[in-house]
């Protein structure tokens, strides 16, 4: 039986230890899931339930959330929290809700933020829901990427988590709304 998206996403909980020991990458305290919005009552209801659910997590989990719609028409559910377990629980629960309500085709990507201790750069692990695997994304200045850092991430964890081997599919997600509101 193929692994579900949540199972694969949870593999970050072990991969982040490898990233920290090998590359000094710390969990940045932010992650997000993004999906394309559609018009219609069912989708609207799902979105409302999702927001209600995430808001209800707050006292129990160290987690806050906000929703941002970007210029491509994608809704981003951005989660903030200090503990990786809580971040992953919130992230996978959000993904599961979207899937359970029949909108799995709308799911695009989940993004997990890391911060490098050496140069304070922000580095990301992108989970592609269509390919069911991860790839690295390290934005540099402007619309360029730091491929050297991306290669380091690949060599550190490509055996540990399902990883995208075809680099021509490492599509960037520019202007991530994880730190700035869209």
């Amino acid at each position: 039986m193929p692994k579900s998206d949540s199972d694969i996403l949870f593999s970050i909980s072990s991969a982040h230890v490898t990233l920290e020991t090998k590359l000094l990458l710390k969990v940045g305290g932010r992650c997000a899931v993004t999906f394309k919005t559609v018009s219609g009552t069912l989708f609207h209801e799902m979105e409302q339930d999702l927001r209600r659910f995430l808001a209800s997590l707050h006292p129990e989990f160290d987690l806050s959330f906000r929703a941002v719609t970007d210029r491509y028409g994608y809704l981003w559910i951005v989660l903030e929290g200090s503990r990786i377990e809580d971040l992953l629980a919130g992230l996978t629960a959000a993904g599961d809700i979207v899937e359970e309500r029949g909108f799995s085709d709308q799911l695009l990507a989940a993004v997990f933020e890391f911060r490098c201790d050496l140069d304070a750069s922000l580095q990301y692990l992108v989970y592609n829901f269509k390919r069911n695997n991860f790839y690295p994304f390290v934005p540099a200045t402007g619309k360029s990427r730091d491929t050297e850092k991306e290669m380091k991430i690949m060599s550190a964890i490509s055996e540990e988590v399902p990883f995208e081997r075809d680099m021509s599919l490492w599509y960037p997600l520019w202007d991530l709304p994880l730190r700035s509101p869209g």
């Binding site: 090998k22 590359l23 394309k36 970007d70 491509y72 994608y74 695009l108 990507a109 992108v126 592609n128 269509k130 390919r131 619309k143 360029s144 990427r145 491929t147 050297e148 991306e150 290669m151 380091k152 690949m154 060599s155 550190a156 490509s158 081997r165 075809d166 680099m167 021509s168 599919l169 490492w170 599509y171 960037p172 997600l173 520019w174």
Partner: protein, 299 residues
């Protein structure tokens, strides 16, 4: 779509090597024709064996010149390329190696190779495209990789390995021709067919073994070259640039390509085992991975 992207990169890798292989293949064909004529006019087997060994020795002796000629590489002096000479001298001085002769190929395709029978008479050649495209530290990485080939005597190792297949090939051919003349009526077609099959099998097996050795020596040269400069990531970066892999990493946003579902439904061809058995170089991804692991172990 991904295959059309891959094409220029495949072309890149083959240019120089292909010209060298074609030159040596044509020479081998000439030898075979010449030796066949000798057999035809009735020169005896021992004389032919001596002549064949002399030819192999001559080819070994002139291999540098053949390589330079077939690739269009020109030896360059310090006055012509002072920075390139400085760069090579820095690496050899630090690692206590003899300085090789330096050649430049006037080609925009980034590539480099080393040739030479011994470390003292070796030549390192780079294309002008390589110097244009790479940063100094990356160029150092590539040249150190070539110097590692020289230090490890890879040219000798591969020549000896291919000598086995060449000699096997010659022997099969001449027993075929020789046997054909003296014993066509005695042995019949069965023996000849058997010899042909053995010859083909020998050649295919040695061809694959040579490629396996060659791939292994590439990894070793990557490792040793990276030790010489102490900067594995710079060589990894250079490999990314030379192979065109860097250009394959997209800059177009995921949200813009998401509508093109074909991208995600068709599993990407991973290259397959076929091409990896036949290729002389291991896949760039694997080489980069090993270099990055080295970097992690060093820091």
């Amino acid at each position: 779509m991904s295959s059309s992207k891959k094409l220029p990169w495949q072309k890149r890798d083959s240019g120089l090597t292909a010209r060298i292989i074609v030159s040596f293949a044509v020479l081998t064909m000439l030898y075979l024709v010449f030796l066949s004529v000798l057999v035809y006019v009735g020169v005896d087997f021992i004389a032919i064996a001596v002549i064949a060994s002399l030819m192999i020795l001559a080819q070994w002796y002139f291999s540098d010149k053949i390589v330079l000629w077939s690739t269009g590489a020109k030896l360059v002096t310090r006055e012509q390329f002072p920075e390139l000479h400085d760069l090579v001298e820095r690496i050899v001085a630090r690692n206590n190696l003899p300085k090789p002769r330096i050649a430049v190929v006037n080609s925009r395709i980034p590539n480099a190779f080393a040739t030479g029978k011994s470390p003292k008479s070796a030549i390192v050649a780079v294309t002008s495209g390589l110097m244009d495209e790479l940063e100094t530290e990356e160029l150092e990485g590539v040249i150190a990789h070539e110097l590692a080939h020289i230090k490890n005597r890879d040219v000798l190792v591969l020549t000896l390995a291919s000598l086995f297949s060449t000699v096997a090939w010659y022997l099969m051919n001449f027993s075929f021709y020789g046997g054909g003349y003296r014993g066509r009526s005695r042995e019949g077609a069965g023996g000849v067919a058997l010899i042909m099959i053995v010859a083909i099998v020998t050649w295919i097996v040695s061809f694959l073994i040579i490629r396996a050795i060659s791939r292994y020596r590439e990894f070793v040269a990557d490792r040793d070259g990276a030790m010489m400069t102490g900067k594995p990531t710079k060589l990894a970066n250079a490999l990314l640039k030379i192979s065109g892999t860097m250009k394959r990493i997209p800059s177009k946003d995921l949200r813009e390509v998401e509508g093109m579902n074909a991208f995600f439904i068709i599993p990407a061809l991973s290259g397959g085992t076929f091409s990896s058995i036949f290729s002389t170089h291991p896949p760039v991804e694997q080489r980069i991975k090993k270099l990055m692991e080295m970097e992690a172990a060093m820091s």
